[in-house]
């Protein structure tokens, strides 16, 4: 496909002897939201963490196969470059507790040793917070610590922090599982806005969420990619029996 941005080719991941992600082949089109769902322990989070090489931080974790970002293997680059191009937001909001909101957003630049003029920094912070739909709520308290925000605001701060680096792909690992329903819907609305600029891969165990936010959906089961299709097709007409069972709630 012409506009494929990310492509996994025969991709495997292990924890020591444990084979947790098995032979994944998957293409992710540009400026789409792709949801990855499946029962817990199916390897969906591990797969996500493999994309920006966070998986290898765990002791004994290894991978095999290729992960192509714009036709360049992620596993041939230095992880720092990979993570500049592929941003990530975690399950629980994790703003840096020692930094202010402003410094949290600019952290990716500042802590990379880049000297940017104060005016430019202001622009980056403002734009990123605006894109994360947080600007209006925090513009008067930019220099307070990020940990005083509510959970939903903290998560949007983490999104702002990730997109300040202008990544090409944004990975979200169950970003709303620790949030209340209102914050959740705020973030889901935000994803719609963000896909104009970024490609988004979101892991979720919440089927409704996958249906609401994504263009395409992948279903993982026992470490394998069972089915991968346009979200609408997937939910109305699943090809695989296991997908059907999952969607109709017959799995736990």
């Amino acid at each position: 496909m012409e506009n494929t941005i990310l492509k996994a080719i025969d991709f495997d991941a292990y924890f020591g002897e444990n084979h947790v992600v098995k032979k994944i082949n998957m293409e992710i089109p540009k400026n789409n939201v792709v949801a990855v769902m499946g029962p817990s322990g199916c390897g969906k989070t591990t797969f996500l963490r493999c994309i920006n090489r966070m998986h290898e931080l765990i002791e004994g974790a290894t991978t095999k196969g290729k992960m192509m970002l714009n036709n360049e293997d992620v596993y041939g680059m230095h992880p720092i470059f990979v993570r500049h191009k592929i941003g990530m937001v975690f399950q629980r909001p994790n703003p840096f507790p020692n930094l202010s909101i402003y410094d949290n957003v600019i952290a990716g630049y500042k802590l990379n040793g880049m000297k940017i003029a104060k005016r430019d920094k202001d622009i980056i912070v403002e734009q990123s917070l605006q894109k994360a739909a947080l600007w209006n709520e925090v513009k008067d308290s930019l220099h307070k610590k990020g940990t005083f925000l509510s959970g939903g605001q903290q998560q949007r701060l983490c999104i702002a922090r990730a997109i300040a680096m202008e990544p090409e792909v944004l990975l979200l690992d169950e970003p709303t599982s620790a949030l209340d329903p209102i914050s959740t819907s705020n973030i889901e609305v935000l994803l719609h806005e963000l896909k104009n600029n970024y490609t988004i891969i979101i892991v979720t165990h919440n089927m409704q969420q996958a249906g609401r936010v994504s263009d395409k959906t992948a279903f993982f089961y026992m470490g394998e990619l069972i089915e991968y299709d346009i979200t609408k097709n997937m939910f109305t007409n699943p090809q695989d029996k296991r997908t059907q069972n999952y969607i109709t709630g017959r799995f736990s």
Binding site: H78, I80, F81, H84, G113, D120, I123
Partner: protein, 328 residues
């Protein structure tokens, strides 16, 4: 009204300008980012390897410690062999080096101190761990115990020399033994005070870790508080309490200054606990800088080596017990 309209239009156009300049500058920032990152990757490598280097150097430091002690005590090990340990006379003038009096002195002071301190440290452990874990007095007691550990040993020695020694001397007069005042007994008293905090704070932690379900089971059978402490709490935490005693002992064996100041510094075998004597640490402190001959110096270092090995062993055993206790 008009003014605010202008202002809002102005801020909107401002925003547009900013958006455009943001997009325009993005490429510039990205290229700076890439250039900087190569430097950061180099720094990252340096940082990782310097961490390993530091860890390695700590290990090397300890090995070099042991090595230095062994090399420097070689002359005395070769010349004296086992007579070093069992020789009953220490007379540098006659070039005779037997450390039996110091071994005896060290054992006497340390174990006497331990015996004196144990009832106190266990009491504090039970007080803070079981009876009153909270409250202002417990906080006060806890802080006081920590302060006992914080007071420098030279101050204990000084105080012992001027306050405790006269008291012990008058006590000895009443008992009818030679009233030196200084000596093994006085050292043990000082040491006992100094080592209370070690066993007490560890014992407190251990007693706190006794599961309340065990205690409740005993209470439900009609046991009194004393019986619960005796039959449940102490047996359950006994290995932890023992580790605390070991750490106290290690501390007592290695303690130098306070002992040096009140023990009397004579190299004669002590006949009773009221006699003056010497410990391994106090001999080193007293004679190291005056040791002129190689053999003299080397035998002092051999004493240091023995002291090092014994205290380290005791400490490591103590820590191992604590570790096993806390991970269970």
């Amino acid at each position: 009204m008009k003014f605010s309209f202008i202002k809002s239009r102005d801020s909107r156009s401002n925003l547009l300008v900013r958006e455009i300049s943001y997009i325009a500058k993005m490429d510039v920032w990205k290229s700076i980012k890439i250039k900087r990152t190569f430097r950061q990757i180099r720094m990252e490598k340096i940082f990782r390897s310097s961490l390993v280097l530091v860890a390695l150097s700590i290990l090397v430091l300890v090995i070099a410690f042991l090595f230095t002690l062994i090399v420097q005590s070689m002359p005395s090990i070769k010349a004296l062999g086992f007579s070093f340990l069992f020789g009953k006379t220490w007379d540098p003038v006659a070039n005779v080096y037997g450390t039996y009096p110091f071994l005896l002195g060290t054992l006497f002071t340390s174990f006497l101190a331990l015996i004196i301190s144990i009832p106190f440290s266990f009491s504090i452990a039970i007080f803070l761990g079981e009876y009153y874990p909270r409250g202002w007095f417990s906080e006060f007691l806890k802080n006081s115990i920590e302060l006992i550990a914080a007071v420098p040993s030279v101050i204990y020695g000084f105080w012992g020399l001027f306050v405790l020694v006269p008291i012990v001397r008058s006590m000895e007069l009443k008992l009818g033994v030679t009233p030196y005042g200084i000596g093994i007994f006085t050292s043990s008293l000082i040491l006992a005070i100094m080592i209370i905090p070690y066993a007490a704070s560890l014992g407190r932690e251990m007693i706190r870790m006794v599961p309340s379900s065990l205690k409740e089971a005993a209470y439900s059978l009609g046991a009194t508080r004393y019986e619960v402490i005796k039959t449940v709490i102490l047996p359950y935490s006994k290995s932890g309490l023992f580790a605390g005693i070991l750490l106290s002992l290690g501390r007592a064996l290695g303690e130098t200054m306070a002992v040096t100041m009140v023990i009397g510094n004579t190299s004669i075998i002590p006949k009773s606990i009221f006699d003056p004597g010497n410990t391994m640490a106090s001999v080193i402190a007293n004679e190291f800088t005056e040791a002129a001959s190689t053999l003299y110096l080397s035998s002092l270092i051999e004493l240091g080596l023995i002291l090092f090995l014994v205290t380290v062993l005791i400490n490591l055993i103590g820590k191992k017990i604590i570790k096993r206790f806390t991970t269970d």
